[in-house]
Symmetry: C2
Subunit: 199 residues, 2 copies
DNA sequence: GTCTATACGCCGATAGAC
DNA sequence: GTCTATCGGCGTATAGAC
């Protein structure tokens, strides 16, 4: 039984290694520029054939990454909403998370922010229809109702606020801004919040 | 001689048709999802082979598009700078152009804003090092010097300002915002300008 | 569960007739 | 300058031994 458990764990670990390798390569070179051979190599497997014991095909690797990343983001958003009442605090929590991810897991952030997912995962939900992002719109609507946020189209509020946040992080990820994201956090938060806050 | 002229013109026209077809397809499906067969068909050519009489290979089509679009953008920026003195007016001119292009030439705007150019044109200059965008940084620096714009890192000013502008246009281009870009111009300009304007 | 070997298809690219 | 025909290669995917 110990042995069985070990085998199962080993399998799960190999899957994770494949996912991790794929995430890294997709983030750096793009989906179409990375072959299964590349992924196998980066995952420490001699041959790409072994990958097919873990995933049906190349697209399913990307699809699994998509699910993992957006699920985990969704859980984080739930957590942030539970622990904060005001819309401003909740948005601040999400911004903190984004900046932290940019420094600690840039590949994840590339996947979330920069990759054109619909180019290689056309059947998946657009990012904005994802559970987590629907909740962000709800946070904005609540903020408008409570008077914290200016009374304009929530989609525009979202566009302005995350325009500033995401574009800043984009420049960090591409190296155009040379410091860690954390160095820009406080003033970028202020800039973004002031755009949408009721004066 | 008339005949010769006609042939030359025809050749140039065919080239333009190929470029136009490629732009459309790259913008909608992405570079890697469009084959030369697709481009030939969309350009009204029976076979992809004929394309090689106009372009060395697939990448050179994209490269030519890149050059055309950024050159033309650069010329527009020059024009805008010549016709306006204040940084705010110059930035407003660029924003007007962006919104106009989004409505009138969405494929061009997709190419400028959304496509990950380095994924299929790795040897071309990153967008931010492009002549036009270097000039935008100069406009920002001048605005800081003259006291129109807040005195923070010009790259951050750029990130905030165009974060709002580009993210809004991105949502228009993807259909998440359902009106024409022009409907959002005045309030989006105000939001973006207020972020960077000295109070 | 990973290996070797191999099939298969698509697409970029070339040759050459017209 | 566009056509038909065809090559070559890469990358996905499968078959089957171990």
């Amino acid at each position: 039984m110990d042995q069985e458990k070990e085998i199962i764990q080993t399998k799960a670990e190999t899957q994770d290694e494949i996912l991790l390798a794929a995430l890294k390569l997709f983030a750096r070179k793009g989906y179409f520029n990375t072959s299964l051979t590349d992924i196998a190599e980066a995952a420490g497997i001699k041959n790409s054939s072994a990958i097919y014991h873990h995933f049906k095909n190349k697209k399913m690797i990307a699809s699994q990454l998509y699910a993992n990343i957006f699920d985990s983001f969704n859980i984080s958003v739930d957590d942030i909403r539970r622990r904060n009442q005001k819309s401003s605090e909740q948005l601040r929590g999400i911004v903190d998370l984004f900046f932290k991810l940019t420094d600690d897991a840039p590949d994840v952030m590339q996947f979330l922010l920069i990759l054109k997912l619909n180019e290689f995962l056309p059947e998946e939900k657009p990012v904005l229809e994802t559970a987590a992002f629907v909740k962000i719109i709800k946070i904005i609507q609540a903020g408008i109702k409570s008077g914290e946020i200016r009374n304009i189209d929530p989609l525009l509020v979202n566009a302005y606020f995350f325009g500033i946040i995401n574009n800043t992080l984009r420049l960090v990820l591409t190296g155009a801004l040379d410091k860690k994201a954390d160095a820009y956090l406080s003033q970028t938060w202020l800039a973004a919040w002031n755009v949408i806050a009721k004066k």
